[in-house]
Symmetry: C2
Subunit: 292 residues, 2 copies
């Protein structure tokens, strides 16, 4: 044990060094949805997501496991911040952390689901601003990237309809790189998410390869006033809806949208990946909503 | 054998049904860079990429392997199109195709690298338009998504500097969903790619979290004429440069850029995934370049 790490953990010399310990196996099984739901816990992997967990949701932290060597080096600041919010920072051998998760990069946290901002649709509270709705987006990497984009481009909430990847899964949390702890998510049936917001005055904008309105026309209308009817569409309360990777929006989902918007393309590609589509429309929408 | 598939393969009854055959193992080993380079072959997986290979690079096809049942059903049109350009369409059992690639979805093609549009920097030919440069983008999923975005938003070429994922790898081809066969790619040292284009009059635009110029200011300048100096930046011959996932652009790469551009963000996210950043700037740039 190096001098600096001795100092860091002076009051807790119980180094976890047995990769076959029950607790190690338990943490690794949080990769499974069933285990997460049974115990109400989430697994947060890697330094970036763990850092944002400490900063934004400190009360949710149950335990934090860190490679002892990295705790006194690369992750020293992170560990000091963690110890200000929890007594349960556990130094481990690298082998132990690797057994908990192959994507740990030396550090993982276990957090309490009910203290994280993952809510059922019944708790939906949204008065204004922009929300992003994932309608059966199945790939966890896409879902996490879209949570990150929603955060980056100023959305107030992420909505996920039944059939979307579990937003509390380690893969989604990893792709979201901490954004999962920055804004609330609400999960439920598509219509239960959309209908109340529609009634509350939110415009519902769906993305679709067959959308009658071109996103570039929406931008031009808002910027240059080319079409007075389209000019205000990107302003005020609105929800951007993105459909399933293979199938797009289902007919009943499209039916509930006020506008179906397509992204103009200029080459031979037939479509965009759903996370790319989200990057295009959310960045363009943010530019309109935040202009001086 | 169903009636329709009998008809489709009436002149070739040699169903490949042995997953342990040498040829099956050989195809599966094309997942390795070493094997691809030794034999000068690429592995193209799944119906979308194979369809674009048939449409855009038919002369590169060496062999096409397809699940017999799907050949007479879902992939009937695809197989008919393939048989117009090659005699080497091989019906297989599903097990054989799955042994060739776990991402086959019932169909894979083997193609000759030198007939595909993957070129060394020495063959670089680009007079005008827009190019996208991947500067040590390491994740194959990101690299493929960026090839798809370059295609979708009208780029004439993709450039890849040393250290970037191999653009001819199955994972990149899969993420690019056929766009790899739509436009040429040139690979070489960063400076060997950039310097000749700079001399030929291309503006070099690098994306960077610390970029002094905001992308929104570039868009406003081009659209609203807010800044006469920035107004023409997105027009004419240009190269958009995207850096490594973890490290961004290296100092010597940034040094060769004419402009360093940052993407404005409005939430708590600290950065964007590199493919998301590409979606934002390429879509915005295309909107400016293709406006009426």
């Amino acid at each position: 044990m190096s001098e600096s790490s001795q100092h860091l953990f002076s009051d807790r010399v119980d180094l976890m060094d047995n990769p076959k310990a029950n607790r190690v196996g338990f943490v690794s099984r949080l990769a499974r949805r069933q285990t997460r739901q049974k115990y109400g816990l989430a697994l947060v992997e890697g330094p970036q997501a763990v850092r944002e967990l400490i900063r934004f949701q400190p009360s949710a932290i149950r335990d934090l496991y860190v490679d002892l060597e990295m705790a006194s080096g690369t992750y020293r600041e992170l560990v000091l911040a963690a110890r200000e919010v929890t007594d349960f920072v556990h130094p481990c051998t690298r082998q132990v952390v690797d057994h908990m998760s192959s994507d740990a990069q030396g550090i993982v946290a276990v957090a309490e689901l009910e203290k994280l901002p993952f809510h059922p649709v019944e708790q939906l509270q949204l008065d204004a601003g922009m929300a992003v709705l994932l309608a059966r987006v199945q790939d966890p990497g896409n879902a996490g990237t879209m949570v990150r984009l929603a955060d980056a481009f100023g959305a107030q909430a992420v909505l996920a309809s039944a059939g979307t990847a579990d937003l509390s899964s380690p893969k989604v949390l990893r792709s979201a790189v901490g954004s999962s702890f920055h804004l609330p998510t609400y999960t439920g049936q598509f219509s239960d998410l959309v209908v109340p917001l529609k009634k509350a005055g939110f415009k519902i904008l769906g993305t679709s390869g067959e959308g009658a309105i071109s996103f570039d026309d929406l931008i031009d209308a808002a910027t240059l006033g080319t079409d007075p009817e389209l000019a205000p569409v990107l302003e005020g309360p609105l929800v951007w809806v993105f459909g399933n990777e293979a199938k797009g929006l289902a007919p009943d989902e499209a039916e509930l949208c006020d506008y179906l918007v397509s992204i103009p393309m200029y080459g031979q590609a037939e479509s965009l990946n759903v996370a790319s589509a989200a990057a295009v429309v959310l960045s363009g929408t943010a530019r309109i909503r935040h202009r001086q």
